[in-house]
């Protein structure tokens, strides 16, 4: 009986610790994904500027160069491009693929997708530059939040777990 009690108490501690850890991970991952997205946009800008490949080919190349959820986003966009236009493919993908990006980050990409393929090269490149500068400010914001919250949630998870353990013992 005593063994079961101690095991369940340990379980409570592990669970609260993990909750704290996962919450802190969310902030770290958002910064990572935003940086990845920035690289993706730079790649897209260069490809549009210097090559005249169709957008599907470009996305396939970008997908192979990246890792993680952003690569999944481009993969899914390529799949969705077959049925519907670019804008629909983007919005469909960004609502389905699971990332740590916030709504405001996704909004930037959706807004960019509205002009892709609608204007000449110069206009598209400028739009991508604009989106990239927006993402840069988002990265700064996300880094500030990470610094503030990541450590907090880790400590909070452990301490709250310990408090539960002490109360339950």
């Amino acid at each position: 009986m005593l063994v079961i009690k101690y095991i369940s108490i340990l379980l409570v501690f592990v669970v609260t610790f993990l909750i704290g850890y996962l919450l802190s991970k969310k902030y770290t991952n958002r910064v990572k994904e935003l940086k990845e997205l920035q690289i993706a946009l730079e790649l897209l800008e260069n490809k549009i500027k210097y090559t005249y490949e169709p957008i599907k080919e470009i996305f396939l190349q970008i997908k192979q160069m990246l890792v993680g959820p952003i690569s999944n986003i481009f993969d899914s966009i390529v799949n969705n491009l077959d049925n519907g236009n670019v804008e629909q493919a983007f919005s469909k993908t960004l609502t389905n693929v699971k990332t740590n990006l916030l709504k405001e980050d996704i909004e930037i990409i959706v807004n960019l997708s509205k002009v892709l393929g609608k204007t000449e090269t110069e206009g598209q490149v400028n739009q991508i530059k604009l989106a990239n500068s927006f993402i840069k400010t988002q990265i700064q914001k996300a880094e500030k939040e990470e610094e503030k919250n990541s450590k907090l949630y880790k400590t909070l998870g452990a301490t709250v777990g310990l408090t539960f353990v002490v109360i339950l013992i």
């Binding site: 907090l152 909070l156 301490t159 310990l162 002490v166 013992i169």
Partner: protein, 64 residues
Amino acid sequence: MDINLLFKIAAIGILVAVLHQVLVRAGREDQAMMTTLAGLVIVLTMVIKEISTLFNTVRTIFNL
């Protein structure tokens, strides 16, 4: 009275102090206040039985 109760209260006190410090450092003063209050309530519920025993003992000593 169980001596373990004292240790338990001491441990909760330490942990609540740590929580308070962490939350204040992160700029969440209201939540820090809330955790302190929660700790106080938890400890109070733990000692309320002892307090009632104390009152009963005092009453029986003085025949009130």
